[in-house]
């Protein structure tokens, strides 16, 4: 279940009680939190479990020159993330259309594909997650 969209995405998996949010391009794929709304102490309700590592398969830094001859040096960003229904995997997509699947428990890379505007790649990701 995805709770938010856009540049700052939030995703929550109720089965495992985990929340993913706030990627930091080049450093952190996403922050992983444990949510226990029944915890007796307030400080135990939300806990940061891990800053999930960045994967080299994401898009690289790009530069381009516009019509005014200005050189732009642009870092990308994660545009969305979502857990699969069991909370075992997380899918992230960056601003260069790289969709990357990683293991939530280990944070290890599993698969990535560069999505185009058309084609069947979307189905590959769909079947992997479900």
């Amino acid at each position: 279940m995805s709770l938010g969209t856009g540049y700052g995405d939030i995703t929550y998996n109720s089965r495992r009680g985990i929340l993913g949010a706030a990627p930091l391009y080049g450093k952190i794929s996403y922050h992983l939190f444990n949510v226990d709304s029944n915890a007796s102490k307030t400080k135990d309700i939300v806990k940061l479990i891990r800053k999930s590592k960045w994967h080299s398969q994401y898009g690289k830094h790009q530069s381009y020159i516009d019509t005014s001859n200005l050189l732009y040096s642009l870092e990308g960003y994660i545009t969305a993330l979502d857990f699969n229904p069991t909370g075992e995997y997380v899918a992230t997509i960056d601003s260069y259309n790289n969709c990357l699947i990683s293991d939530v428990t280990t944070a290890n890379y599993r698969f990535h594909v560069k999505l185009g505007r058309w084609g069947s790649s979307d189905w590959i990701v769909f079947f992997l997650l479900h």
Binding site: Y7, G8, V46
Partner: protein, 57 residues
Amino acid sequence: MKEIPNTKLLVSLHHNYEQSANMAVFDISKKDQIKEIYSLGEVSGGSIIILLPSSFE
């Protein structure tokens, strides 16, 4: 601002992809007392650098 399903918790995420992000979780179980129970703090990063042609002279 989004609700975490089956809880009385709201997540607030302010994320400027060019600069920083900040996330906080609020307990809304008591109507007259909304309480911030967690704050990630500011996470900085990301940049768009514009170099003018004069930079190369």
